[in-house]
Each structure stands twice: as C-alpha cells, then as structure tokens.
C-alpha cells in the first residue's frame, strides 16, 4: 500500500518536533530542577558585591568630653600597574593625552611623594609580575588628598577605605592614650587596656547591583552586623594635662634630665586628673618618639622614691602609737646599727636633737631609720601593703607595674632601715600618689582611677570596677602627718619655692639614688616633690618626678614645676584661700 506522502512527511516532522521538544524539556528540567540551586547561586554570586561595613572605633574623651582620640576614614591609594598607560583627559575644549610620567607628577604633588618613586612602585610591580593588577601607591591619605586625587580622574588609580585614628590634641595625654597600629588594632596605652570598650565590630554585607553599578533595592544581605565601639571617658582634664605636661617638659629640657613625671590626683575620689610623662608621645606621629618613651612611666616604671617615703613611715609610727610629732631622736650624720647596717645623711652635719617633725623637715635618713626601727619590720611591711605600694591601681592601664617591694622576711640588714626613707623599695609615681591620697583623705585609700565610664552606642553606661577603699591609718593620724608635712614647708628652706600666697600646702621632697643595674647606685638622682593642697582640707595630690637632672643642686629642679601646677590647680578648680594657720610642731628639742 502506498503511503500518502503528505501524511508520511507530516509524521517525520512530527516525530522530529516531538524529539526536539523532548530534548528541550529534558534540558529544561536539568536547568530548572536538577542544577537550579547551583546556577542560582552562581548568578547571585556574579551580581553580588561583598562589602565590609567598617565600624567606628569609639572616641576617647577627657572628663569634660573633649575628644582625645577619634576615628577617621582614610584611604589607601592603589594602582593597577598593568593598566598604567597613557590615557585621554577631557578638558574644556579638547582631549589631552596624559602619560604615566605626568600622572605620577600630579599624584606626587598631592601625596608628597617623588614622581620617580611612584613610577618605581609601578615598574617594580610589573617586574615581579607583568600582569600585576594591584600595588599600593600610598597608604592612609586623608580625605582632602583623596578628593584631590579622585578629581584627577586617572583611570588606573584606585582607592580602598582604611579606618584610621586621629588624636586632635597631639601629645596631650599621648603617653596615656597609646596608639593603634596601621591595621587598626590597639598597640599601647588606654587604647589597648580599654580596647573592649572602644573597639567596634566590622560588618559584612552582600548586595546586588545592576549593570550601571547601582545597588538593586532589597538585595542587601547582612551576614555580620557592624557594631560601633563605645565612648571611653577618662578622668583626665585635658587642659590641666596640657599645662602640667608643658611645665614639666620645660623643666626637664632646661636641666637636660632624662625623663619626668607629673601627676595630679583628686584626694576625695582617687581620680587622676593629669598624668604627664616627658618625653611625650604624639600618637599621631608615633615614629617621632623613641620606643622606650612611648609608654607612661608614671604607670610602668618603678623608681626608688627616696625621702617622699618618710611621711608614709611617719604615719605608720603615729598610727601604731609608737611615735608623735614631738618624739625625740639624736641624729648624727653617720650611724652604724647593731645589725651592721650603715646609714648616712645626705648632707654632712653634727649630731642634732630632732623631733620626728624635725627628722622630716631635715629629711634625715639616720633619724628616720632609728625611729622607724621602733616598729617591727613585718608591721611596717603590712602598712606598706595597705598603702598600696605593692599593688596596681584601678586605672586599667596595660602593663602597669606593681612596684618592687620585697616581703619583710627578705629584707637584708641594710634594707631593714633603708625602706623607712624610700630606698631598697621601688614604686611607681601612681603608687606614691595613691599613698599620699590616703593620707590626704583622712587615712582612707581609694585606688587611683583613670577611666570615668564607658558609654556603649546603645546608651548603656559601664562604670569600671573599683576595688574597695581601705582605711590605712586613722583620720587623726592622717591629720597629724599632714601637719608635719605643712611644717616641712613653713619651717624649711622650701617655703618661698612652693608657697602660693593665701594657701596652705603640705609636701615633701625626695632625692633618691637609683640602682645602676650592677648592684650599686648611679651617681645621678631621681628628684621628686609630693604634696597636697590646700593643707587645711586637702583636695588635690601633686606629684612631680624628674630623673637625672644635670645639675649639682638637684633640690631646686622640681619646686618650680610643683608650684606652677599648684597655681594652675588653684585657678582651674577655684580653690578658696585656706582658712586658719598651719600648726607649729617643734623641730628640735
């Protein structure tokens, strides 16, 4: 039977069509069902741009809210070396060809680099890898430079964000603040010690964008939420801090001293208002400061305090009831003690009939050793521990030293006596300031604090933990010791150097030898002044320490700084003139 040709052809065509449709259906199923997830992912990936949402590292402010450390966005300038070729620049009326050399000159003028250096960066990158697509021209340029560079419209120049840190007040409290590294991680100081407060969490997000680079609405997926850091408020008063730092620096420079420390602490709260270190660190320009000078010596470097320890020893004796300000002692220049220890005074003199007040006024080592010995060593050691001479403050400053104070069992025959006048023991300036704070505050020690609060972005305020206060000596004993320190000023050589008319001041000087690291003592001294104003109701503790001034009469180095700080504190905190007269204790008998 002969087939109808038309029917036959139709059948073939139909079969073919059915086959093709079948193929397409299979492919469709393959794409839409079997590979669907993978393909969708691939397409999303192609359109998606992963980005880092930089968090803001929190500010560090002083007690008045003045910003000491702030976060800024800086920009890394990068180049695509393989594309660094001539390009056309559209000007008002024509197009100009700009060669890489010309572009390098333009870039260099803005970044402060030499054009040949820029070209070298490009050439080096190409030498390493002819297809090199990335090299840094300059890291961390500021917004103005970034804008100017961007305006050049160089097609092979690119930028990436680089969060940076700026310290508007420069070296004011710079040693306290510390600094952050190029990668934004805290390196030193409060930045490091309180990193948990100020550090933020960088966010991660993905979004899709269209062909013209515009973000497609609703396509943003946040995988990690960006969280800003908190604001850290210090107890530092930046204006006072600057003044103290400036006064200290001038004096350290004047006498070519090695370093200096000045501390102002609030007597009733233990808050540190100023902690100056010199040489200072400008955290904006860390490289300008030597490695050893970048931290805060006030917290980190213990020194032998010397005679500023005498009022502390006197307070132990008075509190323990073994001495009064009038307790008498014969004070020779040199004395050999029964246990073999030999103690001399700083200045040659005949044997003097001194009271305890006189021992402090004359700053007699021999007299203090004799009187100090009336209290057993373990009790003196306990008092020293109570005065905080072996513990760190509540400041949270990283790498803070707890001083060097051996247990009384370990004191040798010499140390048994020398600790009474501050040798054979090393303390930080902060520890000494705190011990004086206890005397100033009716015998109650409040651990020194440097941080007022941490305010998180959501408004919660975190107060730092402060250890309990300690009643070290009785209020009456404290009052008596303050009176003795006042007599040091009113009856001694230093009256004119430190007295501000109308104000009573209680203080003590110290001139201490420092270990030379080879078992002996250096020829140079660390001189210090420690005191409190106003003496009738102490409000502020002032500490000035200057190391190794190049001058014979070292005693005159610190008082000008001490007085300048006194005057500034009186003015700044509106201290009323003192009431009453200083008590008069007999010096000799």
């Amino acid at each position: 039977m002969r087939k109808n040709p038309i029917t036959f052809r139709a059948t073939i065509v139909l079969a073919f069509v059915v086959f093709m449709v079948g193929v397409f259906v299979l492919r469709l199923i393959d794409i839409q069902v079997i590979q669907a997830a993978a393909l969708t992912q691939e397409s999303v990936d192609k359109r998606s741009i992963p980005t880092t949402v930089y968090s803001k590292r929190g500010q560090i402010t002083d007690k008045n809210g003045i910003v000491l450390a702030d976060s800024v966005m800086r920009y890394n300038v990068t180049v695509s070396p393989k594309n660094a070729k001539d390009f056309l620049r559209q000007t008002d009326r024509s197009e100009v060809t700009i060669t890489p050399q010309q572009a390098a000159i333009e870039i260099g003028t803005l970044t402060g680099q030499k054009p040949e250096d820029i070209l070298k960066i490009i050439a080096d990158a190409l030498a390493d890898n002819p297809k090199s697509d990335f090299a840094y021209i300059k890291k961390a340029v500021d917004v103005d430079t970034f804008r100017a560079l961007n305006a050049l419209e160089i097609p092979w120049l690119f930028y990436e964000q680089a969060p940076g840190r700026t310290y508007p007040n420069g070296a004011v409290a710079g040693n306290l603040l510390g600094f952050v590294g190029a990668d934004g991680s805290a390196q030193a100081g409060v930045e490091s010690g309180w990193d948990s407060c100020v550090a933020g969490v960088n966010g991660e997000e993905m979004y899709q964008r269209g062909a013209d680079g515009v973000r497609i609405p609703g396509s943003t997926i946040t995988s990690v939420k960006s969280e800003n850091g908190g604001t850290l408020k210090l107890t530092i008063d930046s204006d006072l801090q600057w003044f103290v730092q400036q006064s200290l620096a001038k004096q350290v420079d004047k006498f070519s001293a090695e370093w200096g420390i000045a501390v102002v602490q609030e007597a009733k709260t233990g808050k540190l208002l100023a902690v100056a270190d010199y040489p200072s660190l400008d955290p904006n320009n860390v490289d300008a400061t030597q490695d050893t000078n970048r931290g805060s010596r006030a917290f980190m470097s213990p020194y032998e305090p010397g005679s500023t320890m005498k009022p502390i020893t006197a307070s132990m004796l008075i509190n323990a009831g073994v001495a009064t300000p009038e307790t008498q002692v014969w004070d020779p220049y040199y004395m050999k003690f029964p246990n073999g220890a030999e103690i001399t005074d700083a200045v040659m003199h005949g044997t003097l009939p001194l009271t305890l007040t006189g021992v402090i006024e004359q700053s007699s080592n021999v007299g203090m050793s004799q009187l100090g010995d009336t209290l057993p060593a373990d009790q003196r050691y306990d008092y020293m521990l109570k005065f905080g001479l072996s513990s760190v403050s509540a400041s949270g400053y990283p790498a803070e030293s707890a001083g060097i104070l051996a247990s009384s069992d370990a004191w040798d025959n010499q140390t048994h006596y020398t600790v009474t006048f501050g040798q054979g023991v090393a303390t930080t300036a902060i520890q000494m300031s705190s011990a004086y704070q206890a005397i100033a505050n009716n015998g109650k020690l409040i651990p020194a604090t440097l941080v007022e609060s941490c305010t998180m972005p959501d408004g919660t305020v975190i107060k730092p933990d402060v250890p309990d206060t300690t009643q070290v000596i009785t209020p009456e004993s404290a009052r008596t010791v303050i009176g003795m320190m006042e007599n040091f000023v009113t009856q001694g050589w230093i009256t004119k150097e430190v007295t501000v008319p109308g104000y009573r001041v209680a203080m003590k000087t110290g001139t201490a030898q420092q270990p030379d690291g080879a078992g002996g003592y250096k020829a140079e001294y660390v001189v210090s002044n420690m005191g409190m104003i106003p003496a009738d109701d102490p409000q502020y503790i002032i500490t000035v320490v200057i190391a190794e001034p190049k001058i014979k009469l070292t005693a005159i180095v610190c008082p000008p700084v001490f007085k300048a700080i006194e005057q500034q504190v009186i003015k700044r905190y509106r201290i009323k003139p003192s009431q009453g007269e200083a008590p008069v204790f007999p010096i000799r008998f």
Partner: protein, 246 residues
C-alpha cells in the same frame, strides 16, 4: 436551538408593514399592539399573521431573536472586558511600580553618595575644629596676641568686699607657657597659622622647617638624579597640567 430556528425561518412568513419596527421587538408586544392574541407562544416568537388582504405590500423579514439565555449571556462580555482591563491595569501598575522602585534605587544611590560626601566633609571640618581647639594651638595664639598666664590667683569676696590672696601683676614674660615651639607636640598643627601670622609667612616657615628636616634626614639627597622623570609635553602649573591649546 439553531436547527429549530432554521425550520421556523424556512417557513414563509407574512409580515405586515411593521418592518420599520425594530427587529428586536419582543414577540409578545407586536401582536398586542395589533390587537390580536398571539397564536404561538414560546421562545421563538414569530410575528403574528395579520389579515392577508391588508398585506399587499409586505415583504418577508426573517430575523434571529436572541434567546433568554443568550440575552442573559450577553453581559458576560462585559465581565470579560473588565477582567482583561483589570489584568492590564495590574500589569501597567506593576510596571509603573517597578519603574518607581528602580528610579528610587537611583535616588537612593545618589543620596547615599551625597551622604558619603557630606560625611567626608563633616569629618575634615570636625578634624580641623578639633585640632584648632587643641590647647597647644590656643596657648600659642593667646601668647602671640600678647596674653600671659597670671599665676597668682586672687579672689574678691562679695559679702564684705574682702580681697583674698595677694594680687601680683604678671610680667610680660613670667606667664609664658607655650614658648615659641611648645614642648607638647601636635603633628596635626603642622602648617596651621597663628592669628598674628600672615599665611604666606607661615607657609614659608613651614617650608623652611620641612626643608631643614629633609636636609637632616637625607644629607645626600641633592646629589640624587632629579631628572629621572622625562619632562612631559604639558607644562605644569601648581602641579596640574596647564593646557596650551586654547
């Protein structure tokens, strides 16, 4: 139904001169008007016969009359139009909505960009403000204006007018704190002019300082070949190419 219609239509019909009447008249109304009772009742109404003798000028007139169902069905077209219209409406509004969203995306993008730029401006201005209000700058400016720090505080008690403290005039030099350079550095203040200084002077001073530092760092820098960069054809003024073709 169509076959029924057809059979009726095939029959010769006599129709009076009423052809002028609309064809769609109802089956019942015409006979009534003629005053004759209808002979046929039902769905298919033919026009009633009138007296033949009157019908001298009649002509056959056949017409499909819609059934009740058809008449009822007719509004369905209306619904269809509505449906299609609504669908088109939805499509168009959807289109307009996505156009609006898309243009919103551009608006958002532009605004985010301007937000970023404003943020940058805020940052630079804030930085300027902060560094200018630093104690170093304030003290240096105050001293440049001839101000000194009187370090002898004196109080006047309002209740009895008593002077507390010992007034002492400050001498022109006694109260100087900052000095020429200032011992507390702030590298952010590089190039910042004092109020008493002309900008050009400050720039000259800064340049001098920079040159001195550069000389300190690289004493042999001058001998280095400075012509490593071939001079381009475009003259540079202020670091930017000055175009010669005008």
């Amino acid at each position: 139904m169509s076959s029924l219609n057809a059979s009726r239509i095939s029959r010769p019909q006599v129709r009076p001169q009423m052809g002028s009447k609309p064809a769609a008249r109802s089956a019942t109304s015409a006979p009534q008007r003629a005053g004759i009772a209808p002979t046929i009742q039902g769905n298919l109404a033919l026009k009633a016969r009138t007296s033949l003798n009157k019908a001298t000028a009649w002509r056959p007139s056949i017409q499909v009359v819609a059934t009740r169902a058809q008449r009822k069905a007719r509004p369905k077209v209306f619904y269809a139009i509505i449906t299609v219209g609504v669908i088109f409406g939805i499509i168009i509004s959807n289109l307009l909505l996505s156009v609006a969203v898309a243009s919103g995306a551009y608006e958002i993008s532009a605004m985010q960009q301007s937000n970023k730029e404003l943020g940058r401006s805020y940052q630079t201005m804030n930085q300027d403000l902060d560094r200018l209000s630093s104690p170093q700058n304030l003290a240096a400016n105050a001293e440049a204006l001839g101000m000194v720090n009187n370090s002898t505080p004196v109080y006047l008690r309002l209740s009895d007018g008593a002077v507390l403290g010992t007034p002492e005039p400050a001498s022109a030099t006694s109260g100087l704190i900052a000095g020429a350079e200032g011992a507390v550095p702030n590298s952010l203040l590089t190039g910042v002019t004092l109020v008493t200084q002309k900008e050009s002077e400050a720039k000259a001073a800064a340049a001098k300082k920079a040159a001195a530092e550069a000389a300190k760092i690289a004493p042999g820098a001058d001998s280095a070949p400075a012509a490593a960069v071939p001079a381009g054809p475009v003259a540079l003024t202020n670091g930017l190419p000055g175009v010669a073709t005008r």
